[in-house]
Amino acid sequence: MSILGTRVLRTEDPKFLTTGGVYTEDLVDERLDGACHVFFVRSPLAHARINSIDVSAALEAPGVVGVYTAADLADLPVVPPSAAGLIKAEMEHRLLATDKVRFVGEPVAAVVTQDPYQGEDAIELVEVDYDPLPAALGFDPGDDSLLYEAAGTNVAGYWGDASALDPELFDGCEVVVKQTIINQRVAPAPMETRAAAAVWGEDGRLTAWIPNQGAQGTKSSLASRLGIDEGLVRVITPDVGGAFGAKFGADQEHVVVAWIARHLGRAARWTETRYENLIAMTHGRAQQHTVTIGGSRDGDVQAYRLEIVQDAGAYPRIGAVLPMLTILMTTGPYDIPKAEAVAKVVVTNTTPIGAYRGAGRPEATAALERAIDLFAAEIGADPGDVRRKNLLAPFTEPHRTAFGALYDTGDYVAALDKALSAAGYAELRKEQAERRASGDVRQLGIGVASYVEITGMGDGEDTPPQENATVEVHADGTATILTGTSPHGQGHATAWAMIASEELGIPIEKITLKWGDTDLIPEGGGTGGSRSLQQGGAAVQQAAQELIEEARLRAAAELEASAADLVFDKSRSAFNVAGDPDASVPLTQLAASERLLIRTVFSQPGATFPFGTHVAVVEVDTETGKTTLQRVITVDDAGTVLNPLLAEGQRHGGIGQGAAQAFLEEVVYDADGNPLTTSFADYPIVSATEVPSFELADMATPTTYNPLGAKGIGEAGSIGSTPAVQNAVVDAVAHLGVRHIDMPVTSRRVWQALQAAQPGSEQ
């Protein structure tokens, strides 16, 4: 029986459960003996000019080895912002603040001490003289207070041409609904904060241990920021305590730690506090959507427009580019004859925006799924029916959307119907009607969200997505896999071993996965964008199959038989001559005479498009606005599933995070740009009491783009659940006149919406 598709328990677990993972902060390595500790002095102001920095008192403090500011780093190159050409080049992001600070938390100076407790004391002694400037905030920051005077504007760039929007787009629509929707700023908040350990060898090479999502990308970032050849950088990835999109590449602090290690000729280590993590690690989302949707009274959606404003934070990073993905997925799973989308990217005096689970696609889905519900409410139709009427028909040949996305395979109506059926949708509507009729204080809300998303993207159509893998069988019967992916909770050690085991006939316990050491694996795309299984896993399969073919030739020579006559017996991991079971040679024997190793690159024709429908059921107390999330039922079709245990885990995690955005989490700033959510006491990160157990229904429509039939599953959960929960809360109070509530749909917002909908009612 094939191991593929079975619920194999993770081989990596025993370590995590007993001695714990070895995260960057846990590293014990003789190269790091005697390491100094780095602490960052961070801006307490959202926007200010720096007049002077006095480090003298800090230098006198116990244990201080050095204090460094931007002036000390003047010899390092300045790297232009992401998407140069589309984003204003003047908006460059230095390693430490130079003349200005642009967000609370921006690193201004680095203090280096012998031991960590000394550093916490010494950073208080760095005196920075600031001239405060007005903070530019929100989706319309204006140009009165410019973050970058040289740019002359707080607009970083545009995606699409707003002046080319069709004034007649909604002509002929019987119903047109328009709504501005905030897709709020949230914190990725991986449980392990950012960290680094760095040391330079006598050979002039840097070795850096950094929690990341792809060591190879981190190596490139470090090298370009340090102005050195990539060959001089080795990145080693320790265990990584969650990332959610926010640990790609290298951040400013990582580069400064590497620079300090070189400057002092001594190993240096850094681990940020949670306070620092919540203000200085990139945030996610932060888009404003103005949706306009039009159609017929009988439920045909005929036109849709999405106007996006992306708050990129103080420095345009990947977040400034993500509206491109949002635009690409504008029409989602629907067949909408006319649609258009544009985006404007602004800079504000807030933490920069980066990728966060879904990165650009959840925003598209959230806008569209609210729009569909607004339209359904306007015409008095059932949200499920409106979706069914407008979803694309099933297709097995790739479908090209008006925005250029090429959907590989899909059956969106089936996913919708399956989810509604699993939820007991008709019964829920009946119960809702009863509670409405009786005027129950606790009203029931049912939210539906259908989605299609994009996983495993390459760098455009000319460079198809790909990943490499190396598989080696050893003489002792074990095997080693090298992968360019970078697991940090996804379970690749188990999953990749399953794939290799299936081909090689070697039990998974005897297969070791290695990743994240750039000297061992110089190339790789890391783990993000839900790409790993479909490309990294497929590469492992391809390498293992190529290894078997190589072994077949060697076995033929060994057995003096024709390669075509050999049969690979997986139960013994050996080649037999067909019809002569005694003439046999095991892989181990071949490996003993000559290394049995294959490196290969798997290329996929393009990205894949998983899809599904989420249904959320909430109870809303109409007197207090309190929302209780009672059920989440999902269909997430990500093609063929390799290991249901792992795939379900990915779905659960995504659903939890997505639901949390809908009704709990938000990064909040005051009117001066001071962050108010700087600890887990203030940032309402979801806990076990706020979510229910999730109900998963299975559906698998394989992709033809890789032999595993797999699409990505890492982000789907967070894409469908957010609008499903939001829609459910609005649905619970829709009969009371509420049309829309922005996320997070907190008790206060629900209560306020209820009051606003019923003027004259008791206040």
């Binding site: 995590f16 714990g20 449980m191 969650g242 379970g491 659960h652 157990s693 999730f694």
Partner: protein
């Protein structure tokens, strides 16, 4: 510096520590027991949870000197002879962990919870673990793990009772 004597995972440890040294830093940096992690600054996340005299505590909010004269159990001390503790085994069986960062603390919190309430309902498990944050699992499989560990312990109790009877 202050002299402390602590029993950690059954072993007597003693030494001189700074009065402000946190128990979690004592465990991690002085004793080299690094399963417990520091995930926040505000006693919110529970990644540092250990047992102090059998009750779960957040070791970032206990001074090493406060642990003097007491018994501390960490995830490292939970398994016996390489065999996973039933709660650890249940976490593996139910895929109750992903990145692993919250896991040692979560497991210790679960052990503490089950020692106080061996037959928890799902709601009680969720309430009991409210102070332990996980960003990967959506808590679904963590809750299943704890309930499974309780079921298993209950089944074992029942079997023992039947044998005795």
């Amino acid at each position: 510096m202050t002299h402390i004597e602590v029993t950690v995972n059954g072993e007597k440890r003693s030494g001189e520590v700074e009065p402000r040294l946190l128990l979690v830093h004592y465990l991690r940096e002085v004793l080299g027991l690094r399963a417990a992690n520091v995930g926040c600054d505000t006693t919110s996340c529970g990644a540092c949870t250990v047992l102090l005299d059998g009750k779960s505590v957040k070791s970032c909010t206990v001074l090493a000197v406060q642990a003097s004269g007491h018994e501390v159990t960490t995830a490292e001390g939970l398994s016996v002879d390489g065999e996973l503790h039933p709660v650890q085994a249940a976490f593996r069986q139910n895929h109750g962990l992903q990145c692993g960062f919250c896991t040692p603390g979560m497991v210790m919190a679960a052990v503490g919870l089950l020692s106080e309430n061996p037959h928890p309902t799902e709601a009680q498990v969720r309430e009991g673990l409210e102070g332990n944050l996980c960003r990967c699992t959506g808590y679904h499989n963590i809750v299943r793990s704890v309930l499974a560990a309780a079921d298993q312990a209950n089944a074992a109790d029942q079997a023992n009772t039947e044998v005795t009877a």
